[in-house]
Subunit: 600 residues, 2 copies
Amino acid sequence: MAQLIADKRDIDFVLHEQLDIGAEYKGGSYAEFNRKTIDLIIGEARNLGIKELLPLQKVGDDGCVFDAGSVTVPEGFKRAYDLYCEGEWLGMSDDPEWGGQGLPHAVSMAANEYFYGSCNSFMLYNMLTHGAAKLLEGFGTETQKKQCLKKMLSGEWSGTMLLTEPEAGSDVGALTTVATKNGDGTYNISGSKIFISGGEHDMVANIIHPVLARIEGAPEGTRGISLFLVPKFRINEDGTPGEFNDVVCTGIEEKMGLHGNCTCSLTLGGKGECIGTLLGEENKGMAAMFVMMNEARQMVGLQGFANATASYIHALNYARERVQTKGLTDPAGSAPVAIINHPDVKRQLLIMKSYVDGMRSLIYYGGLCHDKIAMTDDVEERKATNELLEVLTPIIKGYVTDKAFEVCSHGIQVFGGYGFVEEFPVAQLLRDSRIFMIYEGTNGIQSMDLLGRKLGMKKGKPFMDFLEVIRRSITKAKEVEELAPLAETMERFFVRYTEVATAISKSAMSDKVLDAYAFSHPFLEVTGDLTMAWMLLWRATVAAPLTEKKKKDAAFYKGQVTTARFFINTMLPTAMGKMDAIQACDGAVTAMDDAGFGGK
Amino acid sequence: MAQLIADKRDIDFVLHEQLDIGAEYKGGSYAEFNRKTIDLIIGEARNLGIKELLPLQKVGDDGCVFDAGSVTVPEGFKRAYDLYCEGEWLGMSDDPEWGGQGLPHAVSMAANEYFYGSCNSFMLYNMLTHGAAKLLEGFGTETQKKQCLKKMLSGEWSGTMLLTEPEAGSDVGALTTVATKNGDGTYNISGSKIFISGGEHDMVANIIHPVLARIEGAPEGTRGISLFLVPKFRINEDGTPGEFNDVVCTGIEEKMGLHGNCTCSLTLGGKGECIGTLLGEENKGMAAMFVMMNEARQMVGLQGFANATASYIHALNYARERVQTKGLTDPAGSAPVAIINHPDVKRQLLIMKSYVDGMRSLIYYGGLCHDKIAMTDDVEERKATNELLEVLTPIIKGYVTDKAFEVCSHGIQVFGGYGFVEEFPVAQLLRDSRIFMIYEGTNGIQSMDLLGRKLGMKKGKPFMDFLEVIRRSITKAKEVEELAPLAETMERFFVRYTEVATAISKSAMSDKVLDAYAFSHPFLEVTGDLTMAWMLLWRATVAAPLTEKKKKDAAFYKGQVTTARFFINTMLPTAMGKMDAIQACDGAVTAMDDAGFGGK
């Protein structure tokens, strides 16, 4: 039967064959999660996703309604929200102490693939709540945690993140929201925030806003930013929502997609009655934000991936049903065939599949890294895994969301004219995906993070460790006879990549710094290409021997090998060329004057 | 002053400095069009575009209204339509015998850049009318022409093209609309057509539908297709619209963009009362269609380009106003600057500019080719120029619309979060642009056209001529000292391209035909890259000596040289890598089984 949203067989493959999570969890704190339990959990997520969330996708596209400070979510969202919360999915991988379910993160990624792929705009409410809860867990006082954390992880209350202001986007340090000490340990907050996802809505009894603001007299720029906890309704002694806290929604944005999630403008303290408490230390708001941001960025990668996989499955199903003659590629003019057999359609489906497969492996692998951090008692190992995740984060956020948008565009192209028609699901997936390249740090910021922070972090050790993991993977692939030529091509790419990484890293620390940063995004792209090729070769290494051993499933395993072949032989040469440009590091961008751009 | 929609200075540059159209027109049938006249005409087009059409863009996005067979266009469209027709813009480059203005095509491209860039959905009505009129001019009888042609070129009546059916998209030969001879020279038409732009609307007194249908008993496939002229209202003896001709609009599509233009489903002869007359010869409908299609495809390229240039100008203006700190690229933490100074933003603007400039040159050059065809009495020269245009057509349609979509996506990225908000113009430009890659032959079809028809057409002579034009351009560039290194890089690319074109051409005629066609789109991409580099180098060749000679304008000319430098040194290496993959022509796509794609 044709799949919906995501490829069940491939999810199984990544978890149980590629990553072999059962073996990873053996004997550790996740030992109770065997294959049966895991599959049961994912099956439940799949059911909820397809039955309850997927129907929200189209109605969600009609958008939220703003009226005099209130926001009404689309029809059906509240009902689905209650089901989602009843299933205790919001805190599925969180600490049971605060009501979490303690599931392994790799498993939660698979569950989330179904949830986000079914309706990304709905899931964004939960994503924000979860991010805010993690911030609270990491930096909150016992009182703050006791007041809010369980209620947030259960979904009784929701959470947001108040960061952006009209003049402070990527430049967070320019924010002007002010916090004034009240003398009783609380602060009066005053300012305006924009682009607040889920900043106001009617699904919950209270909304907890972590807010970036500057305490009166604090230094300028990012060094003077503190984080505050600002509830929509002040919290009574008994923990119930009390008086309105002067957080007023002044409007919601009309966007090109993700309409089911309201993007709010909020005014705090318009009447001088917005009270917040400090979250973490004074002037350390940015550092706290970055902790949450890493998770949030990984989740945005998952958002993009989930739309890409949904678009792929839709395009695949359509290409198997749609019958047309092959035209020039079949001059004999034989009978029409399903367009999956047309070379250019097939090429596009293979591009989609190679990215989607590579992204799935990467994102689940990221989940497994979180699990390893949770399982180990070895401080060094925990640190190293954490650092590996830090290196992977700009790739997961930046590269994955760039490619997800491309995949969704191919999805439209495979549908032809129908792809442009909103009756079919692929147009919305593209529209919804465009924001993932922007929020939680634009992909330009991600590329600067990779080049300027991650590459040279701790004298380059985490980055070298990342490369070492890939190198070991290539070595394993070389041992599989069938894969040796592919592995060798990949190895040449890998060697070239290390040269180019060294070159751009040097340029970035020389007087060619501006030239180097003009190549930060191309460098992120080839780093992502390397990562995709790594994941696909790893998959092929697992799959190749199984084509003989598990004959019933041979087509699936062969598909893994052919996908790796396609990506390495067809896509990597382009990246090779791009690396030549990065290494040459031509200064055209720096040389271009403002006036040279014309338009005046 | 900041420009809107298009860069006036650059339009001047292409027409008067790069192409030097004044010299081209001297002594010929366009001799009356001197620089002053031309600039006056374009100035008028600019005024109409910015004052009257640009305000339609946002309201057009709200869409048309369908009610019981009628379609109401958005508010303001009718008024603008009347102004556009009063200005006699619809037939601006057409034969005065039929009410045309006889303007040179290169000039009409510049005028159209403003019109389409201001409101593409509005202009699509006119584009279709013009295409239908050209079909009539080429294949109509004197009676048919006398009845309709002047009324269409004046905009009194509009035109369409009825091609697609639910089961016949790219596979036109599968259509099932039937024509039955009535004995009086007319035909009874019966069938259903979809995706008909402007198929029904309230701006005109009559709509003329050219319809592809199969005469009863005609062969299957494309060999049995004839073209018919089917008016919405039958035409009275005195030329006025008469009885309703049983062409019923059954609905309009809800799309992701281009909402101002209604996409109609039409039922012909539902009551058996739809009468049509043959246009051209029996069973020769496809050949006639292809004549019109070439013009239509070039116009779709212009549609894409116009949105790209609009998005570029918006992004440029925004990047000059938006102030943020430079972050990592300026660790000193100096004062915030306009983001046009941020390396990654600048890089994106340069990508946008290089494509937009290259596209403009290419599209105007295409217009000049039309002019040369119109001017010359030399049959051979006319044939050769026509063939050059045929080679350029898949590049103008396929490559330009692909890259236009990319440019519009960069436009959003430069705007950051605001780019996703519909209050700003760049989101709509992206949404509207997505269809250009699909209609008038998907870009996959364009790539097959390039590889399967244009490359080998007439033993490859037209394609060799195309390459020879480029070669001469490179030779000229080498003579400019400042450009010699760039020209040499370009020459290496050119030589490599000719090898790869030969290789893929051979593969396409061997038993590797399916493998080759899996690279037809990448081949179109590198052919387009070559074409852009050619145009940008040509621009630089004209501009470089002028930086000294016309000092007042030095910044503009320097910008031309730097843009060529950026594209050749930064973008071409990637295309070089892609050519390696094309030449290797790996068979992964062919090798992939249906089952290997998974999803079942």
